[in-house]
Amino acid sequence: MVGRLSLIALLLTGGCSSAKDEELAAAKGARSVLAEWSAVERLDGAGRLPSAYSEAMRAKARETLASDRKSIRDADAGRTVDAAAKVPNARTLAAAGERLEQAANRLEAH
């Protein structure tokens, strides 16, 4: 009996992870990736990063953003991610990250 109740509680908890939560997690993840990528571009522009490292980080950032993008349905957030990936310099990436943070806050509020 205790085992069954525990299983039900676990399933209910699992059910709390909805599509909305998935989108929010993706938006927050993408926000961080944009910030990470921006930091890489800024430091690379100042000649402070090995080239193999910065190239690999750029490729990884694109890949991770593309993966997060699939779960983002909010139009504004989606456009922000798409635009940032096209013009990936430190400034535009940082600005895109801030816009995405606002979008994530909106998603969280709803």
Binding site: S32, V33, A39, R48, L49, A61
Partner: protein
Amino acid sequence: MKLTELFLGILTAVGGFVDVSELVFMSQAGSRFGYALIWVVVLSTVGIMVFGEMSGRVAAIAKQPVFNLMRNRLGLRLGLITLIASFVSNLITCAAEIGGVALVLQLLTGAPMRLMAVAATAAFIATVWFLPFKWIERTYGLLGLFMLVFGAALVAIHPPWGQIAGGMVPQVPRGLSTRDMIAFAYFAVALLSAVMFPYETYFYSSGGIEDEWGPKDLGINKLTTIVGFSLGSLLAIALLASAAQLFGPAGISPEMVGTVALQAGVPFGKIGILLALLGMLFAIGGAAIETCLANAYSLGQFFGWRWGRHRPPREAPRFTLSWMAIFVVALVIVLTGVEPVELAEYAVVASILVLPLTYLPLLLLAGDRAYMRVHANGLLSKTLGWGFYVLIVVAALAALPLFLLTSGGQL
């Protein structure tokens, strides 16, 4: 007590303290909650000291590894449940470490990640096949000391030392939303798990048998666990504090393993990045070998096989085939494309679920005078041991719901 032995043991413990899960979770915790989770790292370090010291003492006095004695104390059924649970947890952890190493090699060389995963696994197999146990442990542990660059980086960015010290006091930040409060609890559990990974005690205990520890080595055991783990935890705290200082204000909660190296890149530039990547390579690589061998030790000890790297591979054939197969299976998991960061998250949750099963037999054995004679747990060890055990059980019960509610700390 041999001073050289002690010195090398402590340095090995420091260099080997951090693995991919700690790299990821320390950075994310610092970025999100500032210095407020430092006390959890301190508390968890005391926990691993307590159980690490016990596992070394059991190896030195009972001359039997934990899994051997566990089966006799718990019996076949509960012993099998513990074996299977810890095996799965360690296998996921091993895959996370191999994936982490592959990512670091990609960052160093620019070569494709999957190719680097295969190359790294081949290197690990060669390391374990050809090197004797002591040199396996020491090579990666000592080279992992490149991680000290993160300590230097923290000093270089002039953090608020008062706030860092304040973070060592148990606290929950004020004004957190319900969601953030749940996330705080998740990170507290995750950090506890990342520091107290079960593979560490299995490996340490089996290593004590490999090194033929006896009563004369109890002093080395105590000092290695206390001093080595303390210094190692300072490194972990440096990762958290740097993230609080550098990443939090920038909105970075590292989604990519390579981002952690920026903590050294910001103050030191290219040389900082290179040293950080080298440190990560050997620290994570050492953890990959430890998790694999921990599983092979568990199998060998549970089923009574010949085991150990103190004998040539062909003299312990089932043990040898086991660790080779475990590396290959872990590699296959990495090659499926699961992100190492995601694997690290699963590893941490899987490990905390297993911790109560892992530490209970150790606690019982270390306190059993029939095995331990005058070296059985005294009042302090008993109090700390049972106190931490209650904490671990609470954390284990909370882990899965917290993981699901926060989508693995993402919400």
